[in-house]
Symmetry: C2
Subunit: 189 residues, 2 copies
DNA sequence: GTTATTTCTGAACGATAGGTGTGTTATATC
DNA sequence: GATATAACACACCTATCGTTCAGAAATAAC
């Protein structure tokens, strides 16, 4: 019994995520969240736990979706270098690309809660691990002989994060293609 | 004639830069700037042009100093691959590393003024250009045969930016050393 | 010392921040 | 339809935001 909610929690979270993604935690004001989500301040407070809680939930939504996107490419069987190339080839910048929400949050380290910062960190580490699995599979297949797979996986993670930054500066998919093409020299046997 | 200023402009700018660097534009409040610089609100307004002007000046200070640091390594004669390796080998993370102020500002794209965003962008492009000069010199010396030097320079810029992000997540200089060691495979002939 | 000029101090400005209380409206159960 | 319950709308709270003003303090020229 009681009145029905006039919003769908998942939709609200998506809208909030997009706004936080664009403007960051401090740069996003509750009034804007009300306008974007169509949900009143009070209801936002009741459903989530204020601005902090909403931010954290939005961040986790992004993280979970992003992680799933990474997994769908980087856990494709059989594991190996083609997965790595497929991942980097698959990156696409839109003209209004706002960077990676996780990275934006890492930049706001001293502004967001520790919980939010940790959530943002976790994706970075997960991605490195996914790269590593493919590199180890490649080595098992006779490639990348005597290479430090862990360090290489971390470098790939670094490149991934760097691409997200460069996409803000210049969301050129042509440049991106030329850049990731250079990775074949890094991953040659 | 008139009263003397009780502060040194350059010192104020340094303190402001450090705070903005840590907290970002929106995350930094005027009251904190007053406390950190030791200069009253009114004087901050008279000397700079409000929060926006102070941010822009602090950003340009960082950019100019950073650019000089890049140039001192990457324009070392003779140009070539050793400069590139020297640059990446020379990166050091402190335990409280707050990332690169320029990158943090790029992440705040939709929060800062266009002028500030442009200033942040300019460093990225300059760094790519410096890498390129060294790669072209290497090619002139018979290295990196038939490689796309422009794309490779951009990749090195991407790695540089990615390292700055990774430094926030894990300011481990040991990891960093292992990661940049992998670059020798990318820059092999 | 007097005066003109500049900076500094501290308070106050209006606006808006995030957060909350109150009463109204809608729904589910009986 | 009556009633209990949950979510709604809207106004209001205090705190603080960036900004500014009026007067005190300090300095340089005369």
């Amino acid at each position: 019994m009681g009145r029905k909610k006039s919003y769908v929690r998942a939709d609200v979270l998506e809208a909030a995520r997009d706004l936080f993604w664009d403007k960051g935690y401090e740069g996003t004001h509750l009034q804007e969240l009300v306008e974007v989500t169509g949900v009143n301040r009070f209801s936002l407070y009741a459903e989530f736990d204020g601005k902090e809680g909403l931010f954290l939930d939005a961040l986790r939504l992004y993280r979970d979706e992003a992680e799933e996107a990474y997994r769908s490419v980087l856990l494709h069987e059989p594991l190996g270098l083609p997965n790595v190339h497929a991942y980097f080839d698959g990156i696409k910048f839109s003209s209004d690309y706002a960077g990676c929400f996780m990275i934006n949050t890492l930049s706001e380290k001293h502004v967001v809660t520790d919980e939010a910062f940790s959530a943002a960190k976790s994706l970075s580490l997960k991605v490195e691990e996914l790269f590593l699995q493919n590199l180890l599979a490649a080595q098992a297949g006779g490639h990348l002989h005597d290479r430090d797979a862990t360090a290489l996986a971390r470098l790939l993670g670094v490149v991934d994060q760097g691409l997200a930054i460069r996409g803000i500066v210049s969301p050129s998919n042509k440049h991106k293609a030329q850049i990731v093409a250079q990775l074949s020299f890094l991953l040659a046997d």
